[in-house]
């Protein structure tokens, strides 16, 4: 599915393909035209992707073809063993987690899981967790702490689910508990925002020693739609809210919330999966290596200091 601002680019690319086919089938030489159009396409692509507006980034972050948590687990980890359930009520398919090896080391890996299509999204509740999802994540984190495994969390959710059952079973408490326990977890924790980081539901997997964020991912106090509705009583002003909220990776680096921006291939993470996985892998490996050199006390103290310093006051 093409995004509006990608359309001229995709049309141009289709045209180039057409000329190439012509060359092949009819034997007419269009190489000059093709070279010219290819240059134009490259320039256009750079122009678009180096000047994305916050709202365009929101759309890229939500792109159905964007790699999700399970894609990263499959691409970067081996021996993944999925573990289910919170031992309290149920198993939430909106959060996936388990044990795996990363560069040969046993780790606990988890994340919100969005689907790539409607069917998957219905099954995964669009990556919007109930309390059981957060409590499963918490159980796996405590388990990681017990066995001295590093924790790697992928963040990709519009937010915690807003429903009756979620409220009845303590959505607020589930998130709060995760924040508290994660802040003191005696093992390295890395979080990577790979798409949409929406509100408390995202943060519940995000109290990490290092927070990485992909170039076109977003991370926000609430979805732009919800913010518009709260601020201006008008959910249709999401675009304006996206501008005002400072939700891009570039904003968050400036505000001291994230540690590093993980680059995406030109055209966004979904345009070249191999390159995307490689770029993520490089960042994850480097940060994990650094954290593995720290003592447990250093890890816990540094994590506390990191979040303690967040915010601006006069």
């Amino acid at each position: 599915m093409a995004l509006d601002f990608e359309r001229p680019l995709l049309e141009l690319e289709a045209k180039i393909e057409e000329l190439k086919r012509f060359t092949k089938e009819k034997g007419i030489d269009f190489s000059d035209e093709i070279a010219m159009l290819e240059k134009k396409s490259r320039d256009m692509k750079e122009n678009i992707f180096h000047n994305l507006t916050p709202w365009q980034k929101v759309q890229i972050a939500r792109h159905a073809a964007r790699p999700n948590t399970l894609d990263y687990i499959k691409a970067l980890f081996t021996d993944f063993l999925e573990l289910h359930g919170d031992r309290l009520y149920g198993d939430d398919p909106a959060v996936i987690g388990g044990i795996a090896r990363y560069k040969g080391i046993p780790v606990t890996v988890m994340g919100h899981l969005k689907g790539h299509d409607t069917k998957e999204n219905v099954q995964r509740n669009f990556g919007m967790a109930h309390p059981e999802g957060f409590r499963k994540a918490l159980r796996l984190m405590k388990q990681a702490e017990k066995f001295g495994r590093p924790v790697i969390c992928f963040i990709d959710t519009a937010g915690a689910y807003c429903g009756m059952g979620a409220e009845e079973r303590g959505q607020g408490e589930a998130i709060a508990r995760n924040l508290m326990v994660m802040s003191a977890l005696k093992t390295p924790v890395i979080a990577a925002v790979i798409g949409e980081g929406g509100s408390g539901g995202a943060l519940a997997l995000g109290v990490a020693n290092r927070i990485l964020m992909q170039e076109h991912a977003i991370f926000s106090v609430s979805s732009p739609e919800a913010a518009a509705s709260i601020l201006w009583k008008d959910g249709s002003k999401a675009k304006e809210a996206a501008e005002a909220l400072n939700l891009t990776a570039q904003d968050l680096l400036r505000l001291g919330v994230i540690d590093e921006i993980v680059p995406e291939p030109l055209g966004g993470a979904h345009s070249d999966l191999t390159a995307t996985y490689h770029l993520m892998d490089e960042a994850l490996e480097r940060h994990l290596k650094e954290l593995l050199e720290q003592s447990t006390e250093e890890l816990v103290e540094a994590r506390y200091a990191k979040f303690r310093a967040m915010g601006q006051t006069g």
Partner: protein, 284 residues
């Protein structure tokens, strides 16, 4: 994550012309007020004497932070912390500074929480008291910082902490920095836990969003005032999401106790003695 519980004023004054707009909601200037829930006409002085609780139907009117301090702490014992901390506009959010200035003017407070220490029946305690009249008690950098600092002081002084919450959630105008206050306050409570110190969380109407999803839900003991709305997502957003009406009493204090989320519901006139009892049981 935040809320839309910007409800109608809780009561109307019988002589509204004597009250400024902001005062109408909170400090009845008239001799009589009408209870929003049961419509009983209440004599203002009697209402004040009864901790702003309707004598007829037990409706708990919302309190300002200063009123709450007066009702809860021993007279003259309160020493405020960090009142000099001021709100900035880190995102240059349109009209935010004006909104803060207007809230300051209307409430006489600097921000949506007042923190400090004092005594309750002689027991020393660190307190945080939120005020929903200040931008819906929303949590931005100053609220998060004041709460984190007060918890850290409690650890230094080995004192218990009591926080009265009332909030629509994280403050939109400070964006992600507001969200991060949830992690900051929860992390400070993890340290309090580690130090073996008591945290009593008192949930008052309304407690929602990012405050429910951080410190407010992490009390060793969680108390709620009767009828208080308590939840993560506010009722309007839930109704929009599931496209059906919520049942009567959903997310009220009584519902939350039934679902295991709060330890007890305490009427405001008994709040101080209940807190004193809890403090005495944890005396070190």
């Amino acid at each position: 994550m935040v809320l839309e519980i910007f409800r109608k004023p809780k009561y109307v004054t019988v002589r509204p012309e004597t009250a400024r707009d902001s005062e109408k909601r909170d400090i009845p200037e008239g001799l009589w007020v009408k209870c929003t829930r049961c419509n009983e006409i209440l004599y203002t002085k009697e209402l004040e004497k009864n901790f702003k609780v309707c004598q007829k139907c037990n409706f708990h009117f919302r309190l300002g932070a200063r009123e709450r301090i007066r009702m809860t702490l021993d007279e003259g014992s309160f020493k405020e912390y960090d009142n000099e901390l001021t709100t900035v506009n880190p995102l240059n959010f349109p009209n935010y500074s004006e909104k803060v200035a207007a809230a300051q003017e209307a409430t006489g407070l600097k921000e949506a929480v007042v923190t400090g220490e004092g005594t309750i029946d002689g027991f020393p305690v660190v307190v945080g008291i939120m005020d929903s009249h200040f931008i819906m008690g929303s949590m931005g950098s100053v609220v998060g910082e004041k709460i984190a600092r007060s918890i850290e002081r409690a650890i230094e002084k080995k004192l218990p902490v009591i926080i009265f919450s009332t909030s629509g959630g994280a403050r939109m105008q400070e964006g992600i920095l507001s969200l991060m206050q949830m992690a900051k306050t929860a992390a400070a409570l993890a340290k309090l836990d580690e130090a073996g110190l008591l945290f009593v969380s008192v949930l008052t109407d309304p407690t929602t969003g990012g405050v429910t999803a951080s410190f407010a839900s992490l009390g060793d003991v969680i108390i709620a005032e009767p009828g208080a709305l308590i939840g993560f997502t506010g009722p309007r957003v839930i109704e929009q999401t599931i496209r059906q009406k919520l049942p009567e009493g959903f997310q009220r204090a009584e519902f939350m106790r039934q679902h295991g989320m709060v330890d007890m519901i305490v009427n405001r006139p008994q709040m101080k003695e209940t807190l004193a009892k809890i403090l005495s049981l944890h005396k070190r």
